[in-house]
């Protein structure tokens, strides 16, 4: 009795056959700041990845005839105190800084998400136990914690990654836990449970997608933060040790007033690269968050 009458009354939404990814991309494309970030970041990444193919100097090649030389036709960004090419070291340093930052953020996202997930889905006792541990991890003074960890783990790429990841996951796990606790009671998650969903399904089909905004924002802030942490650790001599290049230990050169005042290309370029990369990543993260939120279509 109703089939005929109701079907005509249902308003058909305007025809739009685009898939979700296409729509996310169109939202992203409308975001000027995010595109600018991408436009800055892509050349940096390409340059860092491919520099041995097109740049004549290696990061540790010493040119004894050109020490502390300013930017010029042969050494575009100048040389440092022992005649190493600044551009080559900048690009090699970028490889290391970005690798350290990226890997440590991935590690801390995995730890942070899993800890938050276990806390929120594991029941009251587990939740309380885990959250007190997180509190403990958060109350450790970061600088001292870093120094102790770094002195135990030593210098080099892997220890630096370990140190930075161990320091940064608690914040994310708190945010994930809060989101999942709220999500667990939402009707569509209850519906999924009512269809027989396992904890695994709930976590990765509902939990993870609904935490993506938190994770993207965290990742962008944290990549920037990790780049800075790496720079700080290397600056103190605990991160990436010379002669390996990193943006942090290149900045270390600026401790000398002579370098600071007379050879400004030796610290301006790594400093500039640091600021530019961190800014670009932040813009990008902002755009990604908006693009992945299907509700932003409504605004």
């Amino acid at each position: 009795m109703t089939a005929a009458s109701t079907s005509t009354e249902i308003a058909t939404p305007p025809a739009r056959a685009r898939g979700p990814w296409v729509r996310a991309w169109s939202r992203f494309r409308a975001n000027g700041a995010a595109l600018t970030g991408l436009a800055i970041l892509i050349p940096i990444l390409v340059a860092v990845a491919t520099y041995p193919l097109w740049w004549t100097f290696g990061p540790n090649d010493i040119d004894l005839k050109a020490m502390n030389q300013g930017p010029g036709p042969s050494h575009w960004f100048g040389t440092d105190g022992v005649g190493r090419d600044i551009l080559a070291r900048l690009l090699q340093g970028g490889r290391i800084s970005l690798t350290v930052a990226f890997v440590s953020v991935v590690v801390s996202i995995v730890i942070g998400f899993l800890v938050g997930a276990i806390a929120s889905f594991g029941g009251k006792v587990v939740d309380n136990g885990i959250m007190r541990l997180v509190d403990l991890a958060m109350t450790l003074p970061p600088v001292i914690f870093l120094l102790v960890l770094a002195s135990i783990a030593g210098t080099g790429i892997v220890p630096t990654i370990v140190v930075i990841s161990l320091l940064s996951w608690p914040v994310l796990s708190r945010m994930v836990r809060a989101r999942l606790l709220e999500l667990r009671e939402r009707d569509f998650v209850v519906a999924s449970r009512g269809m027989g969903a396992s904890m695994w399904h709930l976590l990765f089909r509902h939990g993870l997608p609904n935490c993506i905004d938190i994770i993207v924002v965290y990742a962008t802030l944290q990549i920037a933060n990790a780049i800075l942490l790496e720079a700080g650790l290397s600056f103190l001599g605990l991160g990436i040790a010379p002669p390996q290049a990193s943006w942090g230990n290149m900045l270390n050169a600026a401790r000398s007033t002579v370098v600071m005042e007379q050879y400004i290309w030796q610290w301006m370029f790594p400093g500039g690269a640091l600021v530019l990369t961190v800014l670009a990543i932040n813009f990008l993260g902002d755009g990604l968050r908006d693009a992945f939120d299907p509700r932003s279509d409504l605004n």
Binding site: S7, M195, S198
Partner: protein, 330 residues
């Protein structure tokens, strides 16, 4: 009754809180509720907010664990089942939610939402699942191109259809519909109620229909259960309940239905006060604090459900005295 009921709820009780270190008082959401639902029938649960309708609905599907009591579905005791076995049983019983805006994931397409349960239950191949999801979409009279859209692109009524399609995709035998129309516009309510009724008849579904709207319940239900403060006040076949309500609470509820014929003023029996707190229910009959017929004895004993007619039971110690007492007391 010779045939075994499809759904059988006995002595269901659900208390919230009061365990562990919590000092908060126990909330007695549902107290000792028993009822049966024969296969292919629709049973309505009606009552005010806080009467335990939703708690019963969710306990029946074990979306929340009851404090005590048993729920048997087709002879299988759901309350004694391990989490693993229960997950397999869940294909047989589905829930329709009240709020169509909260019940659909904002991050999944309609197709993904409809196929979710089939994927969880491991039904067929991907193609089979898609076919079944598309069939469910058709069954609720939504256009096929809805499949790749997101829930926020739809209106409340359309979303409720999607919620119904999701429940149907698993081809369940039991549906618990928790106020499926109360969040919708009145004009849309009729469409959804008709849709539910058509589907119920066509697919032979057994349904527990939760509502506070007595007109809707009368239209769709075979049997109606009236709840108050987590207890059953009266159970009767729908026609019988509306024609011949026995419990004072049911009479008060029915007198609150607006009279569609102008000038034929109904004798309103207005209840005073609010429903008491379920953490501190009155002794004896829970309705006595608002009952116009309450006497001292009502505070002494919890009135049992007594037969007052064919398939008609009412929980009032004055059932027989009040049989003819139609008049509103002065």
């Amino acid at each position: 009754m010779t045939e075994q009921p499809f759904l059988s709820v006995s002595n269901l009780t659900k208390h919230f809180g009061g365990s562990g270190f919590s000092r908060a008082p126990v909330v007695r959401a549902v107290e000792d509720v028993s009822f049966d639902v024969p296969r292919g029938k629709v049973v309505g649960l009606v009552g005010e907010s806080g009467s335990g309708k939703t708690t019963i609905g969710r306990s029946v599907l074990r979306l929340i664990d009851p404090t005590s009591g048993t729920v048997r579905l087709d002879g299988v005791d759901l309350t004694a089942m391990s989490a693993r076995d229960l997950r397999r049983q869940r294909a047989k019983m589905q829930y329709i939610f009240q709020d169509p805006f909260a019940s659909l994931s904002p991050r999944m397409t309609i197709g993904q939402i409809l196929m979710e349960g089939l994927g969880i239950q491991g039904t067929g191949t991907r193609r089979d699942r898609e076919d079944r999801a598309r069939a469910a979409l058709k069954a609720v009279e939504l256009p096929a191109d809805a499949f790749d859209r997101y829930a926020h692109e739809f209106s409340g009524g359309q979303r409720q259809r999607i919620g119904i399609a999701r429940a149907l995709a698993l081809e369940p035998q039991l549906i618990v519909a928790d106020e499926p129309v109360s969040a919708l516009d009145v004009s849309i309510q009729a469409q959804i109620v008709n849709l539910l009724r058509d589907l119920q008849t066509r697919l032979g579904l057994t349904m527990l229909f939760i509502s506070h709207d007595l007109a809707v319940v009368e239209y769709i239900c075979d049997t109606v259960i009236v709840l108050y403060l987590g207890r059953i006040m009266e159970i009767a076949p729908a026609a019988e309940l509306y024609a011949n309500p026995r419990h004072p609470y049911t009479r008060a509820l029915l007198s609150a239905i607006p009279e569609p014929v102008p000038g034929r003023a109904s004798r309103r029996q207005i209840l005073t006060g609010d429903i008491p707190s379920p953490s501190n229910p009155p002794s004896g009959c829970v309705f006595r604090t608002r009952c116009p017929h309450a006497i001292d004895a009502c505070a002494q004993v919890v009135p049992p459900l007594e037969a007052v007619g064919r398939d008609h039971r009412s929980a009032c110690i004055r059932n027989h005295e009040l049989e003819t007492a139609e008049a509103v007391p002065a």
